[in-house]
Symmetry: C2
Subunit: 350 residues, 2 copies
């Protein structure tokens, strides 16, 4: 048996993060058992506790240490005791940006057994390719005369041809590997004319490289309507960082809830480790109570395995989550976070 | 009988605009018949046709002429034969900005008989108070090295204490007049920290003026989840221009469709005329075919009457639309735009 060893950086984070990550690692162990694939994990103490103790979010040394890993598994970041934005910008977004994770990959599937809040959801199976390193997320804002009647606050969305082109090309390559081979560009080019037209021109330029792939365009406001009335129409959506943030939460909601929404912050060029995390937040209100559903983290582990080239193992993990979702719907049992993790690990092993 | 005369500027616009506006005016006539309230209308030839003929979107002379009116009724703006953004920015947004229509008021109700795409919509009855003159809509973007590999495009969201405070105060005053008296601020202050914190601090500062009104906060991504899973939870939402654009289309979708979504672009200080328009677009694919539902325009007329202080007439018009929606659901009849308008006018008169 060949041995393959991966260095996995674990950032459990805040709130329910540690609980769901524990189950993610449990399922990773189950999936790799006896395969010769080994994950050497390093835990990173990052998040609210660290910030309260030291004032640090992510130091240069942390970042360097993380860069020495192949992949990252992240739980959740954010805590009400820390000023809003400090951990999000200083830790989560800093990782995405510093490691050039320009593809934020967010699949949506309505698993059998999962109940969509939509009356007629149809067959939901699409992927949002959200840009991860530009747009209004760049942190190029500022404020003047703060807390006076003359305060002015700005936020600058920065979009480059380089940044847009690489994520658009990635989205088309994802579409090329799928059945329907269709890309929908979502933006708001009738108002955000400079950024929007850059996105549109870039899609027009890249599309001919993928003659099998068709594409269309929707404004972000119209996209939320289609996401409500006809989500099965989507195959691959490509969009900017902020629109992708909004649309993927809505997508998670229509496909049965944020409990099953996984994501990968991918650096396809591998100039830095890619990071896998559930779409949900840290949910401080239920933290430490074993109430969180770890399925989204387990699906993120599946995405990580797939990214590393272990598609079969990924499929096994995903199948376990799908089967568990169906069984759960039948039994109606309320289970703890660890019980769900145990059940998933058992299915993966079976 | 006292006579009251209002000067109404009519901008029918593009696509289905002229068709739905005709029915709006028909219902306005029906509502005011025999009341002594008279609307003197001036039609403004603005939109795609004018632009193709003259290259003009909204001249200074047009704007001056419009300013001489009390209110504006607008159909829809936008056409695929005009470069995206030209009419939206040069006409629709120019009107909103130049006339300082800083409150974009967008109520959502699930009328009896209307079918929500949600399985369990609950009682949907909320109002979105969308800021109308700031945010990423200000047009402060630009592009450099266009159409080269080094292109960079920016969009600047501008937010002022002045601009935020007045719309927040308006939202709280709307909430104070409603049963549940609750305001939800929607933003993304964990990422857009400068703008987001300005919004939050402003709400914190204004809230004490309204001791009966409670408030909470949701990130825009989380708001799209609640809009999907529990829209009846909302009472008054206050948010920025772009988030409001996105959220009100989603709101229209969950409450039975864009066919019933009305809006008012209100200048509460009356330093310029307010403008009433359906939320839907110009729908060029069905233009001229008498297929458009004029109900949203008729409801916009109701909002206009309410704004002018004629709450009873507004209620009459709204009741007609509600009754028609219920009757339509039972009969299942497909009617032309004019037939719907006739039916509504008859109900208003009855
Ligand atoms: C926590 C927050 C900064 C983050 C984002 O906005 O990207 C989250 O909402 C997400 O989607 O991963
Ligand atoms: C047509 C467009 C510019 C407009 C907007 O974005 O405000 C529309 O979507 C709306 O909501 O009224």
């Amino acid at each position: 048996m060949t041995e393959t060893t991966y260095r996995l950086a674990v950032v459990a984070g805040d709130g329910i993060g540690p609980e769901v990550v524990a189950e993610g690692l449990k399922c990773l162990a189950a999936a790799t058992e006896g395969t010769g694939i080994v994950f050497e994990t390093t835990e990173f103490d990052l998040g609210a506790k660290r910030w309260h103790a030291t004032g640090e979010t992510l130091t240069d040394a942390d970042l360097e240490a993380i860069k020495g890993h192949d992949v990252i598994l992240l739980g959740a970041i954010g805590d009400p005791t820390v000023p809003s934005g400090v951990l999000e910008r200083g830790l989560l977004l800093k990782l995405r940006f510093a490691l050039d994770q320009y593809v934020n990959l967010r699949p949506s599937r309505l698993y059998p057994g999962e109940v969509s809040p939509l009356r007629e959801p149809g067959e939901i199976d699409f992927v949002v390719v959200r840009e991860g390193t530009e747009g209004p997320y760049v942190g190029n804002g500022g404020a003047l005369r703060v807390d006076t009647p003359h305060e002015i606050a700005t936020e600058v969305s920065v979009n480059t041809r380089h940044g847009v082109e690489r994520v658009v090309r990635y989205a088309f390559s994802v579409a090329a590997g799928r059945d329907r081979k269709h890309v929908t560009l979502v933006h708001k080019h009738n108002v955000l004319v400079h950024a929007g037209h850059l996105w549109r021109r870039t899609v027009e330029a890249v599309a001919p490289e993928f003659p099998d792939v068709t594409w269309d365009y929707l404004h972000i406001d119209a996209a939320t309507i289609v996401m409500t009335t006809d989500p099965s129409r989507f195959d691959v959506i490509v969009t900017d960082n902020l629109f992708g943030d909004i649309l993927t939460d809505q997508a998670a909601a229509v496909s049965g809830g944020i409990g099953l929404a996984a994501s990968g912050n991918v650096n396809p060029d591998k100039t830095g480790p890619s990071m896998f995390e559930p779409v949900h937040g840290s949910a401080p209100d239920i933290a430490g109570q074993q109430k969180a559903d770890p399925s989204a983290t387990v699906l993120s582990v599946a995405m990580m395995l797939d990214f590393l080239g272990h598609g079969e193992l990924a499929a096994k993990v995903e199948a376990a989550v799908a089967a568990d979702a169906a069984a759960k719907a039948e039994s109606g049992l309320v289970r703890s976070t660890a019980e769900v993790g145990d059940a998933l690990a058992a299915r993966i092993r079976a």
